[in-house]
Amino acid sequence: MSAVVLRAEGLTRRFGEVAAVSGASLALVAGQWVSLVGPSGCGKTTLLQMLGLLDRPTHGSLWLSGLDPWQGSVLERTRLRCERLGFVFQGNNLLPHLTALENVALPAWRLHGTRATALEAAGRLLERFELAARASTPAGALSAGEAQRVAIARALINGPSLVLADEPTGSLNQALGETVLDALGEVCAAGAALLVVTHDSRVASRGHRILEMADGRISHPAGEPAPR
């Protein structure tokens, strides 16, 4: 049985009186693609940010590889994001003034402190995503599809246990979207858990599991109990 990478229980995030996420529970397993679907404004992005340690839950518990990250300091959570998490956002994912190679290398450079090693690893990843020819292109000059694949490469560079993707094909046409989805498939092949937030059923159908979200609550498919 695959290891549980992340477990969340009863996550709630309130903004004043409004609960953006209410009592969300889920478990993410290594090598598994989970799609989280739901209409705009249902709380998907807020949930993803809580799972990515960017936003603190108002209530609820979260364990990442068995650790409760909210027991630690800001620096420790930043370190966890660097070491164990990868993010792919909808667009404007990259630092436009850096090249594709440099964008991919950043997390590894931060983690290991050596530029040469980081650039070497980034180069290998760009080759894997068939972007080697675009390595020295400024991120601002990449096409939307290329930029998303570079973002996925960056998410993978430190060998994360969990990758969180927020509408990764939201700004792409169907052909480019397929390329990006194929690249995301490689995340799971690399052994990481993948949570893809989307409102596109085509994207969601790629997942091993689909969770639906509405009004800040996750509804688990019939026969799949909420994780304990």
């Binding site: 956002f89 909808q90 404007n92 994912n93 430190n158």
Partner: protein, 397 residues
């Protein structure tokens, strides 16, 4: 698990700071220019103020009455010859001169009251700056040095003859006692010493012999070439010569002391103005710059380059701006100093303000502007470090 660093590697921080600055060339250029203008203004300002202070000390101390003056508590200095020898042998003393001061009058027909200073300078250190002619030879009984302004007033120049009447106080009613016909050997100038005003200089031994007191001395001038250490030297001399009063130049010359304090106050307020004039607009621009970078900071936070790293990146940008501003501002300042050397901003007959071109002329303004730049970068950097990435990323691209 890889061992993680508390802050990013310096190379990464420098890389991020530098590349981000390069991405906004116009903002970076304006910021660098602001720093450069600050340095370019402050360098000649510092050079002129240092020149002003140096000229005052030169005239008032080095070519004036020395770092320390030894006065008798009453009357004249007893045993002046031995006192002068002991003073000259005191550690830290470079030179000592004996001075005898008598009321006098000079002129060609109508006489004008002056102070006649009999000076004995065995070390060649005179309390004035000779600007024309020759100094007095030891034992010269026929020569006189005249202040340049006084000489102009009386229309005399080196080589001319002049009548001098000295009040010797010998109690004699003879009309010719203390009346001399002397040759002007040279002209001197000086602004911050007694010699600056209406005074003439003669050989001390000549005047003393006329007084029939070969050792007659009213004042011993002590030169150490260290105006800053004058207080300490005065204290040592006071201990060594309990019968005399030892006063440092600062204590003895209120005008000089006030002028130097005034110069220091102008320098301090000028520095404060530069800090404000450079720091405030720079802080505003850096803050606006950091606001434009909020999404990038949030993205960096998401990939593990957190608030402390962001703080250091923005602070490094301020440092780069400061360093480039200094690099650009120093040549500008140097050119302005060269201009002011050729065209002094203050030049009267006795006093010419020549800017000081030395390392400290550049170091202090450079450090001031660097500090102003770093200070102005602190708040924007702190704000960048406190960005809530969730809030920024939630708003979308």
């Amino acid at each position: 698990m890889a061992k993680s660093r508390r802050i990013a590697a310096p190379g990464l921080l420098v890389f991020l700071a530098w590349r981000d600055l390069r991405a906004s060339p116009l903002t970076a250029l304006v910021l660098v220019l602001a720093a450069a203008i600050g340095v370019g203004f402050q360098v000649p300002n510092t050079a002129n103020l240092l020149g002003y202070e140096r000229e005052m000390l030169e005239q008032g101390v080095k070519c004036g009455f020395g770092e320390v003056r030894l006065h008798p508590r009453k009357g004249r200095i007893a045993g002046a010859k031995a006192t002068l020898a002991r003073v000259r042998a005191t550690p830290g003393v470079r030179a000592a001169s004996a001075v005898l001061i008598l009321p006098a009058a000079i002129g060609q027909g109508d006489l004008q009251s002056v102070a006649a200073l009999g000076v004995e300078a065995p070390d060649g250190r005179w309390p004035f700056r000779l600007v024309e002619g020759q100094p007095l030879a030891r034992g010269d009984r026929e020569g006189i040095l005249v202040g340049r302004a006084l000489a102009t007033r009386h229309g005399v120049k080196p080589g001319d003859q002049l009548t001098l009447r000295v009040v010797l106080g010998r109690g004699e009613l003879d009309e010719d006692v203390g009346r001399y016909r002397l040759t002007v050997r040279g002209l001197f100038s000086g602004t911050f010493s007694v010699c600056a005003a209406d005074s003439v200089v003669l050989d001390r031994s000549f005047l003393a012999s006329e007084l029939r007191d070969p050792e007659a001395t009213d004042l011993v001038l002590v030169y150490s070439d260290d105006p800053g250490g004058a207080e300490g030297l005065a204290a040592r001399l006071a201990a060594a010569f309990p019968g005399l009063e030892a006063r440092s130049w600062a204590e003895d010359s209120a005008l000089l002391r006030s002028a130097i304090h005034g110069s220091a106050a102008v320098a301090a307020s000028s520095t404060a103005m530069v800090v404000i004039a450079v720091g405030l607009p720079m802080a505003a621009l850096l803050y606006i710059h950091s606001l434009h970078r909020r999404r990038r900071v949030a993205l960096l936070a998401a990939i593990g380059i957190g608030g402390l790293d962001a703080f250091l990146v923005f602070l490094l940008q301020a440092l780069f701006i400061g360093l480039f501003g200094v690099a650009l501002g120093c040549p500008i300042g140097y050119a302005l100093v060269r201009y002011f050397v050729a065209h002094p901003i203050f030049e009267v007959e006795q006093f010419t303000l020549r800017p000081v071109l030395a390392a400290r002329t550049f170091v202090w303004p450079a450090l001031t502007v660097l500090a102003a730049t770093l200070l102005s970068g602190l708040y924007p950097a702190w704000r960048a470090a406190r960005i809530d990435p969730a809030d920024i990323l939630r708003r979308g691209p």
